[in-house]
Symmetry: C3
Subunit: 131 residues, 3 copies
Amino acid sequence: MFRIPEDNDLLEYINKFALENNINMAWVNVIGALRDIELGYYDVSTGKYVVNKFDGFYELIAGVGNVSLKENKPFTHLHVVIGDREGKAYAGHLVKAKVYVAELLIIEILGEPKLIREHVARNLWLWKPVK
Amino acid sequence: MFRIPEDNDLLEYINKFALENNINMAWVNVIGALRDIELGYYDVSTGKYVVNKFDGFYELIAGVGNVSLKENKPFTHLHVVIGDREGKAYAGHLVKAKVYVAELLIIEILGEPKLIREHVARNLWLWKPVK
Amino acid sequence: MFRIPEDNDLLEYINKFALENNINMAWVNVIGALRDIELGYYDVSTGKYVVNKFDGFYELIAGVGNVSLKENKPFTHLHVVIGDREGKAYAGHLVKAKVYVAELLIIEILGEPKLIREHVARNLWLWKPVK
């Protein structure tokens, strides 16, 4: 549990932290505040992400996600809820955002086999499902 | 931490997983995408759940909840935030939903006494509160 | 993992629980239902929190946050998503709310150094960031 320094890209920071600490699998929770946020929505009919942009500052209410291996490197998959000045909530798959404040919990998961993201189809990189 | 196969009912899957693995208490986080979702809001004045339906596909931004015993079987209580194509957020007590993608963290909690859901009143099944 | 008794202030309850159990660092997840809620949004331009009030009952969809030390006592920092009767989501920094139902997971984090909130500037009490 720690605070990520201001102005980092949130996803890049967690990826780098995982790489440097040799973390291949983990669960993540994060709260704080973000700015200049892009949130994705996966469109099943086109196989592409629709990206919505949120300029300025938003409370980061709940970042929930995980770290696993993608192309041999730790990769962070994070979904976030953000809140605006009126308390309205927005939510999506985090594409990118700058940290204003970020308080992170990262729970490393040990053991084998490691979870690996593979390109299943149309921009979806997924783990093999359990049987 | 694992991926739940597509097309399962999310709650039924977690209930079955807990039963087969003899998990009586657990905390759950889940992200991914869901379809054909029903979210409940408990109306204190009537003692009934109002159910809102969300057809089609939504990002599953944050599923947060737990597993405990209800009528001698593991029972999943999950609240979810979902996001639409414009990044708007909806939220409620999960009644049912089909999995498109679901990446689940389940933290088993051992020890006694086990938490048991009992019918307190008017559709509320709750654990005994701490003193 | 346990249920917080009805009618407590959610933040005061967790603070008291941490103090009585000598918990100085922890991560928190909580779901349930709240009433008479005040959610904050930190306005970077003024350095003050804007507070939005939500009277009546809301589902507590995801409370995500942590406990650390502030002025030598355990202090709970919690962000919440709440849901209304139509399934709409609102979100913010929890200022206060009364518990209707609250199912809490608290994960104590041991070790040194302890995280301490210090007054950085303009109503922001933050941990030192990692380097």
